[in-house]
């Protein structure tokens, strides 16, 4: 199977994602420059974190106009796996692949720290290896991760079990105290209706090796690999 890491000008977690897929998961992976349009060789795409175009407008707002994005949208529509991490999540929102928007963190400060996530649904390509309710310890690093959507969208997300991860405490407490950025309903990651596009603010690529203090992030990539294998992509 083949992964692609999309590189926008200003992406800065591209090499980290590439490293995890290649050296930790030992799968084939390529960088995809934002001006490329041909994605037919790929089975899964990663939109990495960073500050695409400096995030000088709204986060992700300019990146959505990159030539690669129309191909990403059609790739997703045809069922390809797409995971957007941090800035990648913000770009997926701007591109309309996922609903909602990002606001600045409630504290108005950039926050870099490990947080606990609760896995809300195992029935997805990204969580199929993780029992529902399990906690993952994964770092966040963002200034605009305060997820917001209208009530109707929130109801849909929840009733369709499209909230994959919520922020919580070390004992699974899903409350304001353990909401690092003010996200509505403690939302940390959501999927689309077809369940093949995930956006999440925390960085699983930063905790996929024990030397970095934990391997909880690896399970998400392992789930993707497993799902692709079962879909006959090896």
């Amino acid at each position: 199977m083949k992964f692609g890491v999309v590189v926008f000008p200003g992406s800065n977690c591209d090499a980290d994602c590439y490293h995890v897929i290649k050296d930790v998961m030992q799968e084939e992976v390529n960088y995809i420059w934002h001006q490329e349009a041909n994605l037919k060789d790929y089975d899964a795409l990663i939109l990495p974190g960073g500050f695409s175009y400096g995030d000088y407008l709204r986060t992700g707002a300019i990146a959505k106009f990159s030539p690669v994005m129309s191909s990403v949208i059609s790739f997703a529509e045809h069922g390809g796996l797409v995971i957007g991490i941090c800035n990648g999540f913000q770009i997926l929102l701007e591109a309309g692949l996922l609903p909602g928007a990002m606001l600045r963190n409630q504290s108005l400060q950039f926050i870099c720290k490990p947080v606990y996530l609760k896995v809300k649904n195992s029935d997805s390509p990204f969580t199929k290896q993780i029992p529902e309710g399990q906690l993952l310890k994964i770092p966040i690093a963002h200034g605009e991760g305060n997820y917001f959507c209208d009530e109707k969208t929130l109801e849909e997300l929840q009733s369709e079990k499209r909230v994959l991860f919520t922020y919580c405490g070390p004992n699974g407490e899903e409350n304001e105290e353990y909401n690092p950025n003010g996200s509505i309903a403690n939302i940390a990651g959501i999927i689309n209706r077809q369940r093949n596009v995930l956006g999440m603010m925390p960085h699983p690529e930063r905790c996929s090796e024990s030397i970095l203090g934990g391997k909880d992030g690896q399970i998400i990539f392992a789930s993707m690999v497993k799902w692709l294998e079962e879909a006959g992509k090896r």
């Binding site: 200003g10 400096g54 000088y56 870099c112 930063r206 030397i211």
Partner: protein
Amino acid sequence: MKKLSYKDMGLLEEEYAQIQEIMGREPNYIELGMFAVMWSEHCGYKNSRPLLKGFPTKGSQVILGPGENAGVVDIEDGQALVFKIESHNHPSAIEPYQGAATGVGGIVRDIFTMGARPIASLNSLRFGELDDARVRQLFSGVVAGIAGYGNCLGIPTVGGEVYFNPAYKGNPLVNAMCVGLVNSNEIALAVANEAGSPIMIVGARTGRDGIHGATFASEELSASSAEKRPSVQVGDPFMEKLLIEACLELIKEDLVDGMQDLGAAGLTSSIAETASKKGRGVEVDVLRVPRREQGMSPYEVMLSESQERMLIVPRAGKEGRITEIFDKWGLDAVVIGKVTGDGIFKVCEGDKVVGEVPVASLTDGCPVYIREGEEPPYYQECRSFDPNSLPELEAQQTLGKLLASPNIASKKWVFAQYDHQVMTNTAIVPGDGDAAVLRIKGYAKGVAMTTDCNGRLVYLDPYQGGILAVCEAARNLACVGARPLALTNCLNFGNPEKPQIYWQMQNAIKGMADAASVLNTPVVSGNVSLYNETAGGAIFPTPVVGMVGFLPDVKQRSDMAFKNEGDIIVLLGRLRSELGGSEYLYVCHGVESGAVPTADLEEEKNLIELLLILTANSIIESAHDISDGGLAVTLAESSIKGKVGFNVNINLDSARTDGILFSEAPGRAVVSLQAEKLMELQANAQKLGIKTTVLGTVLGQDMLYHVNNKQVISLKVAEADRIWGEAIECFMK
């Protein structure tokens, strides 16, 4: 723009006469401006150069010492670390966010200019005290600026220090360090080898920002300094990120002969420095320099300090490929002139020659001042002050006060705003160990880095203080298991024209040099920031040490957290009780005085060797050196980080309890280990002549301190964590 006189530009009368003599005529306005910025302290080091000669700069680990944009040390396997620290004090005092942001931008450029991939940033910061609203504004602005710029670049900010003291109230210190990784055979230099080569400028367009920034950095801050706000540059981290990627592509394809960033004194300085190394000249046409403003004069173009610009001397015939790479990244690369063989810096505006100066007169021709130092009266006064003349305070309350002192309290409020994990190499994150540790992908090895300087100690005793800054940095590296390799320094002092300030410089530098020699940590790069004074006087002399170290196996790294109940806690080094210059005297008695405890350099060296053996052989579970707050705080921090208590008893009947608990005397560290490893530890310590004392055990959820068998402190770990963890946040809410 109003015409400035040579005095307005910061030149002395005798310097102006010297310029007339070099030129054989009156310099015109452009030429005068070029001399003024190149002969400023910031660019020319005219007050500090003779003193800097005392630093040791050589060692088998050193690939490149001072003289380039940054120093380079070997880390085996054909790889090297490139690193340097630099100040951005004056801009940050006026405009904290942009001042700090562009400080990061500048030091990062120094690193990738050498062909190295920047892999980590650190920051050494000093402010007044946090009960002052203006100080809080400066502090939050500086931290936000560092975060805003560094996070966007995707370079992890992995360490540093922050101190608060009234001495820095009007003149905060913002020193930024960057560390890069390079293949030793790909190091790029700021040099123009061949006459006839074109010179290219790339990156941001040139504007009017930052003109005479280097001059501004070389004078005291005053009430009118706010008027210099136009001298503060504005940063564009996105542009810098593109520059990093594009320039490193040029290096990978071996397309450049020389590369230099544009920093202080802009085009003038980067061209002069690049040309001077091989005695070349240069001809540059200001009309070809891309601009962001209309109507700029040649003077403004040559002196602009607009950020995110690079100068490139291509290898013969490679301009085309270079332009292609910059095109890919959406950057302009423009040929603005050529290297010549005559040693003259010729500035043209189209066909018209508007300035002509010998290159060497701008660089090597900068005047040098050897001044006379004078011992200030406070020095002997403070040395003879006896801390035992003060009443002894209750230990439990004292520990609480120290843990809540912003100088000791957790710096979480700061480093949580910095992305410290991007690049996925950070193996010890800020706050968890005595130094930051990074793995090197593809290898077992790792590297460590730290910045250190206790300005109060340097003030009280510049020679000892200089020694202690180097020792603490080396000890911090050893505590995480890294062999100290080499150092960079940022020498922050007041006005060197004042004999008592010059005396501080002389002695602090001598102390650092002596310690660096014994510990085999040569000085490979650095920066000098003088004139750090306001109406309130000079700052504490603050020669910040940035040091890097090497771990053969990064898995063996050691952090400061106690690990397992039942582990033995051992003090390495002597039991000491001197309190001179301690945070305890300051926080609890309001006194900044006393004789500074001295370091025994041989003992420091052996302690470092011991710590390296203990970590490399997995003998210890944790290591934390004794510094601010003394033994009591060291134990508390290991306990807080490990979320587990301890019970210790310290026997030393010749001293007062406050001295035993809160002395910051050097040469000491606290380690924890499994009981069965104790004999191995003691045998190694004995071989190196380091004294060991078993203090107690890791245990329960309380921190229990006994001195001479009497309990003096009992504090819940969770309570200590709350006091220590929330102190700075409380000020900033």
